[in-house]
Amino acid sequence: MKTPDEWTARRQEIRDAVRDIYGSPDRKSAHKGRPVTSDLSIDEALVLHSIGWEPVELVCGAGVYPIPTGAWQWAYGEIRYASVAMRSAFDRAAERIGTECAGADAAGVVGVRVDVTIERHAVYVVLVGTAVAPSTGRVGLGRPFVSDLSGQDFALLHNAGWEPCGLAHGAAFVYAPRRSAADAISQTRQNVELTNFTEAIYAARESAMARAQSSALGLGANGIVAVQVSEGPMDFAHHAIGFVVYGTAVKPGPAGHQYRAPQVSVSLDDRVRQFDVTSLRGTSTG
């Protein structure tokens, strides 16, 4: 709680600020002479400031790849066209947002919103985030990183001595093959597992996870954090199971892992929902 004196000081600060916005137009909030654009929340901006980083520019990257007619047709095995289109779209979008980030003289992009749309004939991947840089400049930093971690997560990771390397991703689309006529008839009155669907989803998952891991290795990382998973049949092709994963690939910085002992606190608030079952699907993290 602030004391009455502190509140008086705060009010004075506000009055000074109001006077200053019209009184001193010489002050620059620009990054190297360019105006800063950012979609970070004020909390994210403050927490980045606390670790010596600042927002530079709102950047984006997009990749759109086609899936030709016939790719989703009923057959066996992987739907290669869709898997390849997804990988290419993701890679291209990440490459472009990285290029925009480098062009803005920033070190990396945080808080990237990953927008994936899969249609019958095209895959769209659009990445939008804020390019950030250390307040001292990006001298000595390598290739720009792209990360979907929030400002808070990035600060925590940074303080623990880890570095984001980029967005690792993997996708696989697999057919759930048709049951044989004999199976379908004999199963009409049974409560049974549809092994064709179970096997399809396992196959899709294995391929997608393997691709995500190799994509992380390609980025020079040794792990992926905050993995988002979306899986299930396609809206337009119910026999095609898709499995899409992505997350921020990370590696320990030069000084290795820094142990930060957490403080323990007891909340006096009322009990709140402790686990959000939708969080794994990336729809809500509370």
Partner: protein, 311 residues
């Protein structure tokens, strides 16, 4: 009532002694603690009509159709079929193009439809100006917690801009030369000041990108195979990728160009995709945020401490 009548009516009503506010209770409390006194809930409306082929549109000029286009990017037919501009006695695009179907899209173009942005900005700025005039009438210094919405009214070509916010007075200060406005209110506004910034104005910009598909884009989006074998079924749909980037970049750069040395804080994109006709699309993108000015070198907060909460 005429526009001036509305303003004077509102001024009279707002001068009646009670205050109105659109703030939540925590925002209201934060405001009072910051020395900002809410005086009135102020609003601005503007209803606009526009058309893609309206005045200012380059589509009404024949030079657009003959290839002289002011565009963000252009695409040529990968099959090598050129554009046909001259009219001969046998009709458009016939002679010299044997073997090409008359509907083959020999050119593609991503056009920044500036006149749509211009119309949108007229609506946005009119609603903003009207809201500010109400605030001025109430003797306010700034408007916080601005909410703006723009929605289709009646049909696709008519749009309503509606903006409202809470007008506040900075206790103990004379009115500023201009009224400042902010999407932020309450706690977040307090933190912005803590970070050494102060809001100048709410800002927004629109980019409306028209995609006139080239043959390759059309083949890809329809899942087709190129009868000439030139367009690969796995190659990028470059024109659409470009449009996705352009819509966001144009909206951002439009706002950036008016920022001076200030920053854009808490920006948010809103996108829309419209199919006008076969092979003819509009990707639009609206960007909103608060223009902020650095007013002091705020010291950085201490680095965050990880906490385990026991419930």
């Amino acid at each position: 009532m005429s526009a001036t009548d509305i303003l004077s009516e509102a001024t009279t009503r707002l001068g009646e002694g009670t205050f109105t506010s659109g703030l939540t209770i925590p925002e209201f409390a934060a405001c009072l603690h910051m020395g900002l006194r809410p005086v009135a809930l102020v609003q601005g409306y503007c209803v606009m009509k526009w058309a893609w082929y309206a005045s200012g549109s380059q589509y009404s000029s024949s030079s657009f159709w003959s290839g002289n286009r002011s565009n963000l990017s252009s695409y040529t037919c990968p099959h090598g079929f050129g554009y046909r501009s001259s009219y001969t006695s046998s009709g458009y695009g016939r002679s010299g193009y044997q073997g090409v179907e008359p509907d083959h899209r020999t050119w593609g173009s991503n056009v920044d439809q500036r006149w749509v942005n211009d119309a949108w900005m007229v609506g946005y700025n009119a609603a903003l100006k009207r809201m500010i005039e109400e605030a001025q009438g109430a003797g306010a210094h700034g408007v916080i917690g601005v909410v703006d919405s723009s929605s289709h009214l009646i049909d696709g070509a008519i749009r309503e801009f509606h903006m409202y916010g809470t007008a506040v007075v900075v206790e103990g200060e004379p009115p500023p030369p201009q009224i400042w406005t902010s999407y932020l209110a309450g706690e977040r506004l307090a933190k912005l000041v803590e970070a050494g910034f102060f809001p100048v104005s709410v800002v927004a910009g629109l980019a409306s990108i028209r995609i006139w598909s080239v043959c390759a884009t059309e083949i890809h989006l329809e899942g087709g195979y190129d009868p000439y074998g030139t367009v690969q079924p796995t190659s990028e749909i470059q024109q659409i990728s470009d449009a996705e980037m352009q819509a966001r970049q144009v909206a951002r750069d439009r706002i950036k160009s008016g920022l001076g040395a200030d920053g854009l804080h808490g920006a948010s994109f809103e996108t829309d995709w419209e199919e006008v006709g076969k092979g003819d699309f509009v990707r639009s993108c609206t960007l909103r945020g608060t223009r902020v000015r650095s007013v002091s070198d705020a010291p950085a907060l201490p680095p965050p401490v990880p906490t385990v909460v026991l419930r």
